[in-house]
């Protein structure tokens, strides 16, 4: 097997990942690299892919300054504007001093990382300039990406971890579980992967534990003797984890969102791990009793590294607990739901009530009764119901038959196709992403959303044919089409939005039906959609 140690093979990996579309092919590329590389080089490469590398003395600003010293700043600026990506621009136009040859000898990745880690601010410029001088454009690209973080090459942390799991035949959820307690270059992971040690454990640090997820109920009916029902609140699923003074909030994908919700994190001081829905105080969901604002209100607080006092006061967050994974150091995941529920109730009782409550069980006599209750959910802006098997353990991922989500029926609107774009992967040659619009009172069509799912391959071919035969303008990859095709769009809810021209935004829009029978003039008005906002 080829042994990858240097910057060259890491650059080669990034290069291939950039041009690979298929998820499986990406996973294979990364897995092969990890198997074929020694420690600690592969650990550093993995950290770069998962976004866990940070060098204090090398930032994007330094690269910019260095480049301006080397290349005409005007030409640099023009190039940067044209290329779009700073690392790529610099990698392409960096000019080594006359006489300096790109070196034939490869530089070991671990050596570069070690050097960058221990650089003082004063020595950083010269060290980076030296590396940029001796590397070729593709290696420069890799180095700058590595050194300044944020690879942006279409590889998520989850994908990299999946590749690691595949490389060493590990369970990806087990990898997730140990991940957060480890630091690059992860020697424990590779020792475990190659069978030298057992799975690492974390008793003293708040690490992410994979979530238990639900399948859609579809047309199934369940016996309420076996299943318990709860409301499905429309916020974001979070996991709260506290150990020895340290609290973390993780999103469903394992991202650390503690920083966005300090109000909740500070209030969670009991040793243990719970699973719940993060919500903002309000009355849109379930009225005064439900006590939660719409998802839209929560959205203001998502994706922020820091939160203002004003925001904390105006949109106070709280967690509605669904389940408990650990009580103290005790792992409860193998207990049945009924036993966990009792432990959860006792646990939440020890937490401040303004920040934590429990998702109530919905009492129903039988399935039909539950169905009637669910119908009322829309008025309450709740997403629907959850059905949980009473004897189910807390299992990572989606296991058939344990948890079901029973969403309320979607809202529907007839919209007119306005723009289309080619899809990716299997659908790459088809126009499969559609922007659609509704009519204003003035008779103008404005975009109200974008959808690329919900259709069969046959319908896709039909839409693709329509786009090709009815293109009226092209904007790069985007085609503007004749405004004549009506799509029935299904969506979970609709909200006000300042980001969209129409002033509204749909949640989970998908194509429900092709309305070839309907003339475009008879499609819905924006006002009709506005009336659906709760």
């Amino acid at each position: 097997m080829r042994i990858h140690v240097g910057v060259k093979s890491f650059a080669d990996l990034l290069e291939r990942l950039v041009y690979t579309r298929s998820r499986n092919a990406k996973i294979k590329l990364i897995a092969d690299y990890l198997r074929g590389s020694p420690d600690p080089d592969r650990g550093w490469a993995l950290a770069a892919l998962t976004g866990d590398l940070d060098f204090r003395s090398v930032k994007a600003g330094l690269i910019k300054t260095l480049t301006e010293q080397r290349v005409d700043p005007v030409l640099f600026k023009m190039s940067r504007a044209y290329v779009g990506d700073m690392a790529e621009t610099v990698s392409l136009l960096w000019e080594p001093p006359p006489g300096e040859q790109a070196q034939v000898e490869d530089v070991r990745l671990a050596e570069v990382v070690d050097r960058l880690m221990h650089l003082g601010r004063a020595e950083a410029p010269a060290a980076m300039a030296h590396y940029l001088d001796v590397l070729n454009p593709s290696e420069r690209f890799a180095l700058i990406k590595l050194a300044t973080g944020a690879l942006r090459i279409g590889v998520s942390a989850r994908l990299a971890k999946t590749a690691l799991a595949q490389a060493f035949d590990l369970d990806v959820d087990a990898v997730e579980e140990v991940w957060h307690g480890l630091a690059p270059p992860y020697p424990e992971l590779f020792d475990w992967g190659e069978g030298r040690t057992a799975q690492p454990t974390h008793e003293d640090i708040p690490v992410f534990r994979p979530f238990m997820l639900a399948h859609p109920l579809e047309d199934l009916q369940v016996d309420l003797a076996d299943y318990v029902a709860e409301w499905k609140w429309d916020g974001i699923r979070v996991q709260l984890n506290h150990v020895k003074g340290d609290t973390k909030l993780f999103s469903r994908t394992g991202d650390d969102v503690t920083g966005s919700f300090p109000d909740v994190a500070e209030a969670f001081t009991e040793h243990g791990v719970i699973d719940g829905e993060l919500l903002v105080r309000g009355e849109a969901q379930g009225g005064v009793e439900g006590g939660a604002a719409s998802f839209n209100a929560l959205q203001q607080r998502l994706g922020r590294k820091t939160v203002t006092k004003k925001m904390l006061a105006e949109a106070p967050a709280f967690v509605r607990a669904y389940d408990i994974l650990f009580d103290g150091a005790e792992d409860l995941r193998d207990l049945p739901w009924t036993a966990r529920r009792e432990r959860l109730e006792a646990f939440v009782a020890r937490l401040p009530s303004d920040r934590f409550d429990i998702s109530a069980v919905v009492a129903a006599d039988h399935f039909e009764h539950l169905s009637t209750i669910r119908e009322r959910a829309r008025d309450a802006a709740i997403e629907g119901l959850m059905l949980k098997r009473r004897d189910s353990r807390y299992v990572a991922g989606r296991k058939t038959g344990l948890w079901y989500k029973w969403k309320r029926d979607p809202l529907l609107a007839d919209c007119v196709m306005m723009y289309a774009q080619r899809g990716s992967g299997r659908r790459s040659s088809f126009f499969s992403d559609y922007t659609f619009g509704c009519w204003t009172e003035e008779g103008e069509l404005v975009p109200v959303g974008k959808a690329y799912s919900g259709i069969t391959d046959e319908e896709l071919r039909q839409l693709d044919k329509f786009v090709r035969g009815n293109t009226i303008a092209r904007f790069g990859p985007v085609r503007e089409v004749e405004k004549s095709f009506v799509l029935e769009i299904a969506f979970d809810s609709i909200h006000h939005s300042t980001r969209h021209k129409s002033g509204i935004a749909m949640r989970f829009p998908r194509i429900h039906r092709l309305r070839t029978d309907k003339p475009a003039e008879e499609a819905d008005k924006v006002a009709t959609l506005e009336a659906m906002i709760v």
Binding site: Y19, V74, M78, Y82
Partner: protein
């Protein structure tokens, strides 16, 4: 003496040469046109009279049918048009491509059309001509554009082919010039198997062969069974890469031969897996080195990223101005 080159009038639709009453590469039909090369944005149909190299005329005939009035001009041959002495010299862009050298009242202006400096086995190399005004293109007029060695890029297609015998390598290449150049380079690297081509490239490939560029065995890809196409190189126009046509191919490795492939995002936008940086236009170094070599009194920049090239000229005390011609963006090169 009047302003340098004031007998030449740049218009958005082409360059008008007043004392000769002719146009260079006009984008609208004109009574008299001198055409640098056969690409559609330079050689359009409908002109009254056309002067071009025999190869360019043959390309135009292949595309538009026979011209009623066409004057073939051999390279280097001086022709008097009105009061201007006109001669064509090789531009190295595609087969038959020429620079237009014009002498009038002691001033020499060279319109380079599109050009490149690196070797191309399908056409005569660019010939630098000392002049007062050099009219240059600037398609790749940014220092990020430095085309790597052509042979190495072509070799990538062969490496991918050999590493994936169950797949095919689908190379998107402009139908005139690029396609034939890629095929010729493949032959030079010892690839003797039949190369499959898209129907839209058949006539120009045949013409190249007729004009003495040996492209080896070529087979039409359309209608062929998947099994026959496994392990083959298939050349198609860029537009067909991700289109219905390519759906029936055996798991193609999508490649594209273009100078734009230097930019990752450009390649990704086109869903290209295997970018081949091969261009028929001069890269940044070729543009700037050519200007230094010819050392004209003035540089006029026609189309592309002229701002950067103008700035570069300014920093070297070379007089330069932009001519804004429309419709010359060569997206597929």
């Amino acid at each position: 003496m009047a302003t340098l080159g004031d007998w030449i009038k740049p218009h958005p639709t082409g360059i008008y040469v007043e004392p000769g009453d002719f146009w260079i590469d006009p984008s609208e039909a004109q009574p008299m046109a001198v055409v640098t090369h056969g690409h559609a944005d330079h050689a359009r149909s409908g002109h009254g009279h056309v002067l071009a190299t025999p190869e360019t005329l043959a390309i135009m005939e292949t595309r538009y049918g026979t011209y009623p009035a066409a004057t073939p001009a051999e390279m280097g041959e001086v022709q008097r048009i009105g009061e201007v002495d006109v001669s064509l010299v090789p531009a190295g862009h595609v087969l038959g491509s020429a620079q237009i050298v014009m002498d009038y009242r002691g001033e020499r202006i060279v319109a380079s059309g599109d050009y490149k400096r690196r070797p191309d086995p399908t056409c005569a190399p660019f010939q630098p001509v000392p002049c007062d005004v050099f009219i240059t293109e600037a398609t790749f007029g940014l220092p990020v554009f430095r085309h790597p060695d052509t042979e190495e890029e072509v070799r990538k297609a062969l490496d991918a082919l050999h590493a994936n015998p169950e797949r095919c390598v689908l190379v998107g290449a402009y139908a005139l010039g690029k396609a034939q150049r890629v095929i010729r380079h493949l032959r030079d690297l010892g690839h003797d198997d039949p190369i499959y081509i898209h129907g839209a490239q058949e006539r120009l490939c045949t013409l190249y062969q007729d004009l003495g560029v040996n492209l080896g065995p070529l087979v039409l890809a359309t209608g062929k069974k998947k099994d026959e196409l496994k392990g083959r190189i298939i050349v198609c126009p860029p537009g067909a890469l991700n289109d219905r046509w390519s759906r029936r191919l055996p798991d193609p490795i999508t490649a594209m031969a273009s100078g734009w492939m230097r930019i990752r995002q450009r390649a990704r936008q086109r869903n290209v897996e295997l970018p081949l940086i091969i261009s028929d236009h001069a890269d940044w170094d070729e543009l700037t080195e050519t200007i230094l070599e010819i050392a004209p009194k003035e540089v006029w920049v026609t189309h592309g990223r002229e701002d950067a090239l103008l700035h570069w000229c300014m920093t070297r005390q070379i007089r330069a101005r932009a001519l804004s011609l429309v419709g010359r963006e060569d997206e597929d090169d």
